[in-house]
Symmetry: C2
Subunit: 152 residues, 2 copies
DNA sequence: ATCAAATGGTTTCATTATAAAACCGAATCA
DNA sequence: TGATTCGGTTTTATAATGAAACCATTTGAT
């Protein structure tokens, strides 16, 4: 959408992800959706986004399978926007962004919203690990590029 | 930068994060930095970004403490851009984006780059958990809003 | 039933950001 | 010493965004 250069052909999954949700508004809309918002007006009020832009973003989020338009909730005639499974699976992305923001973008002692387990109340975090469970930092990671056939 | 409305006052850490790195190019530059790139020309070639835009983005990433300009590497007079600790701590965000992209943005069997532990070769993943180690899905999460003092 | 207001957009237009290209000084390279 | 690359900046064209006006359909109140 905003991207001039489409990264959809890139072999780096991060790049493809950013191609789909890397624009300014999409992840904010998704965040609000995780927060329970479903309606046009809710998003619009929450984000202060222009209505035409919101309409466009909702459209592309639906096109891309992250949101689904569901006919009604309470019998009303309006439409709602719900996260699909694909959309819900952005949860770790949101948590990662949250965790980074908590650490670097708040003054010590400055209040911020917190993410907890609904049942136990325990704080929710995320960690990068290998499949045997050991924690991994960035410097221990290595990206294996996909072997290039014969193009330059 | 791109954001008309600054989310820097928002009490949601995700929103503040997106305010800082939520624009189209910043995370792609960070991805390349994780990939070992340090020089203007490397980023420019890799991303196909216009040079003026790249210069601007590098400037704001430095301003915001995500990249640091380091004088030289091999004695040369040129400048390099290195991830700061703050920048390296975006690693989980990159992994989360990668993981989501792998699942939803590639055809079955389509090749993509892989992230592995440099030493053991084991694949790197990330999971959302509570502090007692139990995995958490989005539907089990609850956002505790910061108590509002008296403003509307 | 009726009128007013809210909802969920679309359209139009002004403003802003982006991209492309030209340009430029300093450093490398031959 | 001359040509080329590097790391940008400036200028200009184009594309995206934001604000406001507008509109059809619902919803709510009388």
């Amino acid at each position: 959408m905003v991207g001039r250069k489409s990264l959809s052909g890139d072999y780096c999954p991060s790049a493809r992800s950013l191609d789909v949700i890397g624009d300014w508004w999409s992840l904010l809309i998704v965040r609000d959706a995780f927060d329970g918002m479903t309606r046009f007006g809710e998003f619009q009020k929450s984000l202060g986004i222009a209505k035409n832009i919101l309409a466009q973003r909702l459209r592309t989020l639906v096109e891309r399978g992250i949101l689904a338009p569901v006919p009604a909730a309470n019998g009303g005639a309006h439409q709602e926007y719900h996260l699909t499974e694909m959309g819900r699976d952005l949860f770790p992305v949101m948590v990662a962004l949250r965790q980074w923001g908590e650490r670097y973008l708040f003054e010590p002692g400055e209040p911020h919203s917190k993410l907890v387990d609904r049942d136990t109340g325990r704080p929710i975090r995320l960690d990068v690990r290998t499949d045997d469970g050991s924690a991994v930092t960035a410097d221990r990671a290595l990206i294996l590029k996909v072997p290039v056939a014969d193009e330059d």
